[in-house]
């Protein structure tokens, strides 16, 4: 059954508010397993397309999925559902932080959470990097390392670094095949 624009809004708002850093898992569960709006194959296909596009993957996903079902209005409803509720939430959090951010107890709690968040990101990137090191590959790890040194260590501007590394990396992937 084809969802309406308001159903799309509610579905993406639900996904958004259920997902702590893991919106992808929730969107798959709702759209494939519960609502059956997409088959697993369709989901993977659409998500792979979104990973190529600039911008947030899941944001692009909402636009493409919503607009395929209900045109521009559907796309708008889906992305509004995805970012509207967390935006309200984070502005409330921002207001609290502006007033109480210097309280010692809150200060220390946030310091702890920030350190944990850094660790979580390390684990994620370690998992993502694994496929690069298979098949005795050299190019993939090298490109990842160069990007890491340029951006993470040298703090060079992102557009400049990408202007060099992206064409080089895609070019090598093209030749390799």
């Amino acid at each position: 059954m084809r969802p309406t624009a308001s159903e799309l809004f509610i579905a993406f708002a639900t996904i958004s508010l259920s997902g702590f850093g893991g919106v992808l898992a929730w969107s798959r569960r709702l759209m494939v397993e519960e609502k059956r709006w997409l088959t697993p194959e369709q989901f993977n296909e659409t998500y792979a397309l979104c990973a190529f596009l600039p911008g947030g993957n899941i944001l692009n996903f909402s636009v493409i999925f919503g607009s395929r079902l209900r045109g521009p209005l559907g796309g708008l409803a889906a992305i509004a559902g995805l970012i509207g509720p967390p935006m309200l939430l984070i502005m409330a959090i921002g207001a609290v932080y502006a007033h109480y951010g210097d309280l010692p107890a809150l200060r220390r709690m946030l310091t702890g959470v920030a350190s944990a968040a850094a660790g979580l990101l390390m684990a994620t990137v370690a998992k993502m990097a694994q496929p690069l090191f298979r098949r005795g590959a050299v190019t993939g790890p090298a490109i990842a390392l160069i990007t890491f040194v340029a951006i993470g260590v040298m703090h060079w501007p992102l557009p400049l670094v990408l202007a060099v590394i992206v064409p080089a990396s895609i070019g090598m992937a093209w030749v390799r095949r």
Partner: protein, 177 residues
């Protein structure tokens, strides 16, 4: 804290351009957000940036919601709306048109080269984010230990991120951080 129109224009320009370079989702753009808002514009201190990242991680929804919090810090509610619209608007429109055209290109050689070429760059960018967040968040043995423990535990055990955040916040609350 600036709240004039100039800051809004700067926010809009920066995030609109950044969104086009944010391949692989919100977390890969974190180093550039840090470079611009801390080093170039002096909107935030290192500490505030680490807090902002932590608060965004604690908020359910897409990772890119950090953009709204940076905007809120710079220019209140208007800043949050302008920053988020700039980050999602251009790429959303782009995704809309690509979504319509994409079905024709799926198995083509350049599509595969693009995907294989972009993955290692994305891994390098997210590794950079982990380093930037860790170096802004960690000051002292306990925070470094929290980062490394979280990294190891979430790499080897399938555990919900909120547990790691709760544990770290508790350590902060009792004054160990």
């Amino acid at each position: 804290m600036k709240t004039d129109g100039g800051a809004l224009v700067t926010l809009a320009g920066f995030f609109a351009v950044l969104s086009l370079f944010a391949i692989g989702g919100g977390n890969s753009a974190v180093p550039e957000m840090h470079r611009f808002s801390v080093d170039v514009q002096h909107w935030l201190t290192d500490r505030q940036f680490a807090d902002t990242f932590a608060l965004a991680q604690l908020t359910p929804g897409p990772n890119l919601i950090i953009v709204a919090l940076i905007g809120y810090h710079v220019a209140g509610v208007a800043g949050a709306l302008v920053a988020m619209l700039a980050m999602c608007g251009p790429t959303g429109v782009f995704a809309f048109f690509v979504g319509r055209a994409s079905d024709r290109f799926k198995q083509s050689r350049w599509h595969v080269a693009l995907s294989h070429g972009l993955v290692p760059v994305t891994v390098g960018l997210i590794a950079s984010s982990a380093l930037v967040v860790a170096t802004t968040a960690d000051a002292g043995l306990v925070t470094v230990a929290i980062t490394l423990t979280t990294a190891l535990v979430s790499y080897f055990v399938r555990v919900h991120p909120l547990w790691a955040f709760a544990a770290a916040a508790l350590l902060g609350l009792v004054g160990l951080v």
